[in-house]
């Protein structure tokens, strides 16, 4: 009853439509990427992804064979069907199609409408009918068949070829494993370190506790950019250099403020009775932590783990700085941003597929564990 426009039927409809438009606006770009990743290069460059289910006009070329030639009234005649070209068999498997236009020059492959007779450069005339049959009339016998270009309507085609290229030929498989190698240790290691610290900040009394909590809140917003140069030179001077070990340590350090902050906020809310009861029964802090706090904090631990995993998986900056730039240790974000966008800048199918491969795992994590993600966000922000 308290919705902005929820009091009457019209208002309700307006709300529904507005939300629908917003959802579509938010979803469309991703859908476009997903659809494009299943289309081949020709289809992508000839029609938008929103036309993917429709047929497209594509250009083809065919080299006319000089046999069988027929002589008639002093002219030489070549006849046949362009769709019978063995080189086009994978596009027109049953040897049939519809020609919309044709041409004799590569620069203008659709110069003439189907059925219109045109002149050949070497002399003579040519025509291609709508069904693909051609007829070439030349005053003399020719020893090299002319190359003809034609535009034909081709049915929509979806292919997994892009995925094959990206996953097996483009080094993306290596990058995928590298990303996983970076993300998993960088997610697991900070959790325990942070959990112990969070327990101390939540349930132990010592001078300077308030100051430390304030410091953690402050460090939460320190821009990463500050850390890059000093830490890289530190890593180099102690012999870690640019390596996986270096990036694990860096991610651990950068993830700790959020981990400590989230976990402390959660642990403070645990019931005091349980902890004091355990103390009265003679449990040490270490036992309380391992047996009681850690299991009870599982939702908060899961929230942080998801955050840290998404963050390390999606990170570009830290990977660019702390990992060597060779293909052997490239993660997917670096591979896409530095490698594919440069070398395959125009190959939209490959780009779409690479992007989709890189966002597939985060999306999976997102949709299966959304509950924990939302809970973590709320614990971290609404206080």
């Amino acid at each position: 009853m308290d919705n902005i426009a929820g009091q009457n039927k019209g208002g309700r409809l307006a709300v529904n439509i507005t939300v629908l438009i917003l959802v579509l606006l938010w979803l469309l770009p991703t859908v476009g990427l997903f659809v494009s990743s299943f289309r081949d290069r020709d289809q992508i460059s000839n029609s938008g992804w929103w036309q993917a289910p429709l047929a497209v006009d594509l250009n083809f070329r065919t080299r006319i064979a000089t046999e069988p030639v027929r002589e008639e009234n002093g002219s030489f005649i070549l006849e046949g069907n362009v769709f019978a070209d063995p080189g086009l068999r994978d596009r027109f498997p049953d040897g049939e199609g519809v020609v919309a236009a044709y041409g004799t020059r590569a620069v203008d492959p659709a110069e003439f409408a189907a059925g219109e007779v045109s002149d050949l450069r070497a002399g003579g005339t040519v025509v291609i009918e709508r069904d693909g049959t051609y007829r070439i009339v030349t005053p003399e016998a020719i020893d090299r068949g002319p190359t003809l270009y034609f535009e034909a309507r081709t049915p929509p085609r979806f292919t997994l070829a892009n995925y094959q290229t990206v996953l097996f030929a483009d080094g993306m498989d290596r990058a995928f494993i590298n990303t996983l190698t970076v993300a998993i240790p960088a997610t697991i290691i900070p959790i325990l370190i942070a959990a112990f610290a969070a327990y101390a900040l939540a349930w132990m009394d010592f001078p300077g506790r308030g100051l430390l909590i304030a410091a953690v809140v402050g460090l939460l917003v320190v821009p990463l950019q500050l850390a890059l140069v000093p830490l890289l030179s530190l890593h180099t001077s102690v012999g870690i250099g640019q390596s996986f070990l270096g990036i694990w340590l860096a991610h651990t350090g950068f993830g700790l403020p959020l981990a400590v902050y989230l976990l402390r906020n959660y642990m403070v809310g645990l019931p005091r009775d349980i902890i004091e009861g355990a103390k009265v029964d003679g449990a040490t802090d270490f036992q309380i932590f391992v047996r009681i706090i850690l299991p009870l904090s599982f939702p908060a631990l899961a929230s942080f783990a998801i955050f840290q995993f998404l963050w390390t998986w999606n990170d570009l900056l830290v990977a660019k700085v702390f990992l060597p730039s060779g293909a052997a240790s490239q993660v997917m974000t670096v591979k896409i941003a530095d490698d594919l966008l440069g070398s395959r800048g125009g190959d939209w199918g490959i780009l779409a597929t690479a992007a989709f491969v890189s966002i597939a795992v985060p999306l999976l994590v997102f949709f299966t564990m959304q509950r924990y993600l939302v809970r973590g966000l709320l614990a971290g922000s609404v206080k």
Partner: protein, 325 residues
């Protein structure tokens, strides 16, 4: 050794090391240094309990100090030296930077980002949170709008490259333009406005975050206040702007500042979309042009970012301290 094996080993060493450290350090404290027996047992237990918090805190404090606190000082110190790092030049790097027109453009653009992105993301987030509140399919709608949060900035940039492409057969914007009879153009090369096209990518990502938190805040508003307002004859807009928004103002500010902090860190979008060309540099991307080439300049740019973050940091700390009281 292959990185995968190295990774597994690191997990084992990291987790095992952590557990081992905490277990043995506690044991040594209780059994060796301050044993809870003998004539001074009680005294020893108290002493041990004074030391213990620091045992628990040490690894985290060490890592935080080394990886976040030290760099603030270290970066500032490095920015006072020239490219080679050998000659002290005071504020020379900063003076040079402010002399570069590209740097001033980056500062200006960054201020635009800081003003526009948090405002728009919060606005859209609040709008969607309110509209979906009582909708039967509201949760599905929210889930779909929240989804871009999981996508990397690089992935999101690629997604939007398809939207913005100058080729009307790829970019949907130019397809609409050409079908309306206009000339196709590259939105990313339109000076000044291209900044906003880039910002929209981040707004697209962050709206879900704002929506989730504001939606929870809206649900937390006591029903009575709303009912009372409706009985007093308030229309839906008055209920929203005069009853609901004031009650969640605190949360709106938190969302706003959180996104502001993020905006000051994100370099990926500019880097992937334009590489800083066509007047789109912001400070984080501008810093990367100096990274690996001139550490003095790079750290100086980073420190300027830090100065921009400082007010938010101070405000955050004050909020946190107020809550604890």
């Amino acid at each position: 050794m292959s990185p995968v094996l190295q990774g597994i080993l690191t997990i084992l060493i990291g987790v095992g090391g952590c557990v081992g450290y905490f277990y043995f350090s506690n044991m040594i404290l209780d059994k060796v240094i301050f044993p809870a027996r003998g004539p001074k047992a009680g005294h020893n237990i108290n002493r041990a309990n004074q030391v213990r918090p620091w045992l628990f805190l040490f690894p985290a404090l060490f890592a935080l100090g080394l990886y976040l606190a030290y760099p603030v000082v270290g970066s500032f110190w490095r920015s006072l030296f020239d490219r080679s790092g050998a000659n002290f030049i005071g504020l020379g790097n900063y003076v040079d930077l402010f002399g570069e027109s590209a740097f001033r453009t980056a500062v200006f653009n960054n201020l635009l980002w800081v003003l526009v992105v948090p405002a728009m993301a919060t606005f859209f987030g609040l709008l969607i949170a309110q509209l979906t509140d009582r909708l039967s399919w509201g949760n599905i709608a929210k889930s779909l709008i929240f989804m871009p949060m999981a996508i990397s900035f690089v992935g999101a940039s690629l997604i939007w490259k398809f939207v913005y492409s100058a080729n009307p057969d790829i970019g949907i914007i130019n397809a609409l333009r050409t079908s309306a009879g206009m000339v196709a153009l590259d939105p990313l090369q339109v000076r000044f406005w291209n900044n906003f096209f880039l910002m929209f990518i981040l707004i697209w990502i962050q709206t879900g975050f704002a929506m989730v938190i504001l939606s929870a805040a809206l649900r937390g508003i006591p029903e009575e206040t709303i009912e009372a307002a409706i009985i007093d004859g308030a229309n839906p807009f008055q209920v929203f702007f005069k009853i609901k928004v004031p009650q969640i103002m605190g949360t709106i500010v938190v969302v706003w500042t959180t996104i502001t902090i993020l905006v000051l860190k994100v370099f990926d979008i500019v880097y992937t979309m334009t590489g800083g060309n066509f007047g789109t540099h912001i400070l984080p991307s501008y810093m990367m042009t100096y990274m690996f080439r001139d550490d003095g300049r790079a750290t100086a740019v980073a420190f300027v970012i830090m100065l921009l973050v400082l007010p938010v940091m101070v405000w955050n700390i004050r909020q946190a301290r107020q809550e604890m009281r």
